[in-house]
Symmetry: none
Subunit: 313 residues, 2 copies
Amino acid sequence: MTTNRKLDDAARAAWLYYVAGNTQDQIATKLGVSRQSAQRLVSLAVAEGLVKVRIDHPIANCLDLARQLVARFGLTYCDVAPTDPEATSSTIGIAELGAAEMERWLRRSEPIVIAIGTGRSLRAAVEQLPRIDCPQHKVVSLTGNISPDGSAAFYNVIFSMTDRITARAFPMPLPVIASSAEERDMLRAQPMIRRTVEMASRADVAFVGIGELDDDAPLVMDGFLTPGDVARLREAGAVGEIFGWAFDAEGKLAGSINERVASSPIPDVGRTSVIAIAKGPRKLPGIAAAIRGHLVNGLITDEATAQALLNQE
Amino acid sequence: MTTNRKLDDAARAAWLYYVAGNTQDQIATKLGVSRQSAQRLVSLAVAEGLVKVRIDHPIANCLDLARQLVARFGLTYCDVAPTDPEATSSTIGIAELGAAEMERWLRRSEPIVIAIGTGRSLRAAVEQLPRIDCPQHKVVSLTGNISPDGSAAFYNVIFSMTDRITARAFPMPLPVIASSAEERDMLRAQPMIRRTVEMASRADVAFVGIGELDDDAPLVMDGFLTPGDVARLREAGAVGEIFGWAFDAEGKLAGSINERVASSPIPDVGRTSVIAIAKGPRKLPGIAAAIRGHLVNGLITDEATAQALLNQE
DNA sequence: TAAGCTCATGAGCAATTACTCATCATCGGA
DNA sequence: TCCGATGATGAGTAATTGCTCATGAGCTTA
């Protein structure tokens, strides 16, 4: 509980600093601590993600790019974050927008089913979520959460999500990619898995990441594929993957690995809002293919990526 | 249009600053302006209200309510604890805050006089106090500590306080309410009592509880009043009491019982910080009256009560 | 065209914030 | 009990930010 007490003070200090506009000296006086401690409390609050800053202004260029993407690729939803050309984080900007969009869905009073894929951007977005009490909703994982070594896969985000929101959660106790097509079929046949897959197919909204197929692709990092597997996928024309499903430049599933993918199928954009969260030049081919092939009908990306998508062909 | 363009830049600068974490120097470089201009853009964005900061912690709402109460009722101090809807204790939260505020006063190096009233919340707050060595201060009781049966009144807290802190203590060897106005006057005339009352009137800070006037009011429980007395007080318009002094909805002393109250007068808020510690729906009318009538100028309560106070009228 | 006005700009400086380091207390395990 | 690890603290200092002021460009008006 000592941590709780500390976070309390941190939140208080952050409130006094950011909301009430006190200097850290004033905060120190009010809280009866030294100036340095006040500073530490404020930065603790920031580090813990207690402080959420939102810029309430649709930057014209971003809005414009989003509009163009919607028109050009028949999207139903698109949001574009400003690009910081030298930002070190690969998720900055899109994480905040992703969290905002998730929050809009979660705030709905009528019960909905939210499906969640995998990926670093998605994880970053979920970590930006505030606490929301929404027991009416269900959150269902689109993909397994078991690493080849038996541990929980790092980029599986459903547990991070249920840390913050009080919805019913349906994880998938599976690997992302099984060792063979037969094993995949056997796993899928389990009644509990079947029900989860079924529920995912009827989700109202799905948030997914898009993975590149480099040698340091997330699926390789997590140990599901070897660099050789990825090379064969590329030879088969694959340019990206969405929770394991590899697809080619037209957005058609490609490569024999797909026979071993144990994830739910990608929900149908006719029934579900499938929203991709991804940015960056390395993911560009995958993003382009996914929106061109209508694997997804929503996109959250950044200015540079949006511009690149529009410059293509 | 020029304003629009400017706001756009301001939003972008603010985004780079608050979300992406750039320094204003970096922003200046990226936007191709001078550092000073970058600073101006950021502060313009703030001034225009483009920047919304949210503290994602229960404490945030509390601080906000506290600020509203201060503004609405002209308080000099207010603190609001989070409400735990299923807490069984009637003092949880406010006890900790009360103790924290007491501690802030006690930690001062210059000698002060601290006056203490009565009540369960106050007792709970004192029990949260750490041991503090502060022989420079004086603690003076605002009210008697003798029950009608001659024992020490349970809710008198000055001894609990001096168990923990090494300050000079000035209790009041009196009942809270005398059996007649004459007896009250006689008791008050004793030189020692006179000095104590005099000291209390010059206290720097006073911590008081607010009692409700139900049939199980603390004054009834302690045997000072009969349920009939309380009913008559209510008929006279009284809605609450502070160490014996009953007052009506405007915060004016009300009811003939006040002629028999042997406690010190409630210190003047012009000279003393009079801080009430109270929460709960049953005490709500009393709290509202006390702050509206400026019997107190400080309040420690919980979220639910704070909200209810603000919702009134 | 010149005077007067507004407003943007950058220099310089003061205030504020962030970081580093040395010290000290606390705590769990040998 | 001692020891090392961990974490909290305050001093000192570097980095960053906010403010003021003088300058000058651009624009309006006499």
